[in-house]
């Protein structure tokens, strides 16, 4: 038994001959916001999919909440927000949320309360009966986030949650993540935006399928005497 919420041991993943992840090794403690920072194509999404069990790692071991992944019941404790807005365009926002709530086994009054709560959280309560096809990109992202929070997950995994969202809203989403963290939710978030990385409690830098550095944003900068995360990333990646 370990105290880590998420634990990866030497995880590798190949599609055919192409190796997408190589020997990824890290752990995430309870109440952390763990940021996976890396350019697109670096393997972030594949790593995230391995953690929630949609992909099976070719080698290595992944544990979430002391359960070896893949495991179906554990998905009840994981909230997931995919990179693309996987929403039903011809349904209203409410109907989308309602559908996913049912999949997570929410029922009756509790379901209604949760739906109302998550929709108000992302500020979509007023537009809940509009069809998703009439939503803007930012609204769709917020709706996706709302869905991932429905079942009060202990672990929240967000794949590029703030792409296409205006700065004010981005700020409010990060504030919300911080609130959730304080309540004990463990959060893994992928991003390629450097200033977002600063807000994470711990950061893993990933490049070409390999973890090139890990630590708090402060540590990472201090270790090599740079001022910004961007410089740090370039340095660890061997460009400087």
């Amino acid at each position: 038994m370990s105290t880590s919420v998420i634990q990866l041991q030497d995880v590798s993943k190949s599609f055919g001959k192409k190796e997408v992840l190589r020997n990824i090794h890290f752990s995430v403690e309870k109440g952390e916001i763990f940021g996976l920072l890396g350019p697109s194509g670096s393997g972030k999404t594949t790593l995230v999919k391995c953690i929630i069990g949609m992909e099976k790692a070719t080698n290595g071991k992944i544990e979430v909440l002391n359960t070896i992944i893949p495991n179906l019941p554990i998905t009840l404790k994981i909230g997931f927000m995919a990179q693309s807005d996987a929403l039903y365009q011809d349904l209203t926002a409410y109907e989308n949320v309602d559908f996913f709530a049912s999949l997570y086994g929410l029922k009756g009054r509790y379901k209604k309360e949760r739906i109302k709560y998550v929709l108000s959280l992302v500020n979509l309560l007023e537009d809940q009966h509009k069809r998703v096809s009439d939503y803007s990109g930012g609204m769709k992202r917020r709706l996706s986030l709302a869905i991932s929070l429905l079942h009060e997950p202990e672990v929240l995994i967000l794949d590029e949650p703030t792409v296409g969202i205006d700065p004010i809203l981005r700020q409010s989403i990060w504030n919300e993540l911080e609130e959730l963290r304080k309540k004990g939710t463990t959060i893994v978030v992928t991003t390629h935006v450097m200033d977002e990385a600063e807000k994470c409690t711990k950061l893993g830098m990933i490049r070409e399928g390999q973890l090139i550095a890990i630590g708090t944003p402060g540590e990472l900068k201090e270790r090599i005497q740079v001022r910004t995360i961007e410089e740090a990333f370039l340095s660890y990646g061997g460009a400087m």
Partner: protein, 342 residues
């Protein structure tokens, strides 16, 4: 319960997409009506020109409801072309020479048949008519070609539209990323597949009832057996089409590629399902019909609608259709493994 959530969602989506709903319910009815009009819009009246024909010959042709015109010369080809005749019969000392227009072999055969009967009536003694009594094991004198192909058509249209719509919807679930998202929830693969089967099943049941009911009561298609049996078979066919459609959508990357399955999967079934006689086909080729669901559906529908037989006559078809659906459902569940291991 997750299955039920999927069912509810599919039904909601269906009512949002009025056009697809219309395609599923109205399009088959429209096409069936057209087919009915094409195949039963009265017998064609032939026109035949004659030269020097004996009166009894002309009379017996006219008995066949043929428009007979007499000419003063035997320039057969000219008359056929100028006056749009279907045939020309020139007599020389009671020896007829028949010239046919000949574009449509079916017409030619029918005309030849009638002319020959008329000629043979010349040699017979007058006033000695032979009354023939004709009896049918199945069908009747009033049965039209449309009645014969009707059962196949009903089966085919249900199969076609369900295949296409179910396939495209499931494909959309893949391409929009919602399938992947779904599989990040605790839903089990079989719950999802059953959700689709039941959700679409509701609409295919309505569709099957509507199409069969319309064909039989409005288009007056022949129905000797029970209407409930017709519903049973059409529903089973729809299930097969549904599960096959969702299965094949796994091998299509977009809507166009889904459409490409039509010539591969749907069209061959039309040829093998009994719309065209299989007897003339090479045995190895005809044996392909064994793997085609429509063969069994059409066969059972014909047993019910034309022959009026009971369950024993087509129970084998029922079991085979059930087996098809079952196998396709299992394959669907297996193919979904591509998206999630569990």
């Amino acid at each position: 319960m997750r299955t039920f959530a999927v069912v509810k969602r599919i039904i909601r989506q269906f009512f949002r997409d009025k056009r697809t709903l219309a395609l599923m319910l109205i399009a088959p009815i429209f096409v069936l009506t057209l087919m009915d009009l094409v195949f039963t819009s009265g017998e064609k009246q032939f026109a035949i020109g004659v030269y020097d024909a004996p009166t009894p010959f002309v009379e017996s042709l006219e008995d066949f409801d043929i428009l007979v015109t007499s000419y003063d010369d035997d320039q057969a080809k000219d008359h056929i072309l100028d006056d749009n005749l279907d045939a020309f019969v020139a007599f020389e000392l009671l020896e007829p020479t028949i010239t046919l227009e000949g574009t449509n072999p079916n017409d030619s055969k029918a005309i030849l048949n009638m002319i020959q009967k008329a000629v043979s009536s010349l040699t017979k003694q007058p006033n000695m008519k032979v009354e023939t009594n004709i009896e049918y094991v199945y069908g009747s004198e009033d049965m039209s070609f449309f009645d014969y192909i009707g059962p196949v058509l009903i089966g085919f249209f249900i199969f076609f539209f369900v295949f296409l719509i179910a396939g495209v919807s499931f494909l959309r679930e893949r391409t929009s990323g919602t399938l992947e998202r779904l599989l990040a929830t605790p839903i089990r693969r079989h719950e999802l597949v059953f959700g689709y089967v039941i959700g679409f099943g509701v609409f295919t049941a309505i569709q099957a009832a509507l199409i069969s009911g319309y064909a039989i009561s409005v288009l007056d298609m022949m129905l000797e057996g029970s209407f409930w049996y017709v519903l049973l078979i059409t529903l089973l066919l729809a299930m097969t089409a549904l599960t096959l459609g969702t299965l094949l959508s796994a091998f299509a990357n977009n809507e166009l590629q889904m459409i490409q399955f039509i010539p591969l999967v749907i069209v061959p079934q039309v040829f093998f399902s009994g719309l065209f006689p299989l007897d003339a086909m090479a045995d190895w080729l005809a044996s392909f019909s064994v793997i085609m669901p429509l063969t069994y559906g059409a066969n059972a529908l014909r047993e019910i609608m034309i022959r009026g037989n009971g369950f024993e006559a087509f129970q084998q078809d029922v079991y085979i259709l059930l087996a098809f659906s079952f196998v396709f459902i299992i394959l669907n569940i297996i193919v979904l493994k591509r998206y999630r291991r569990l």
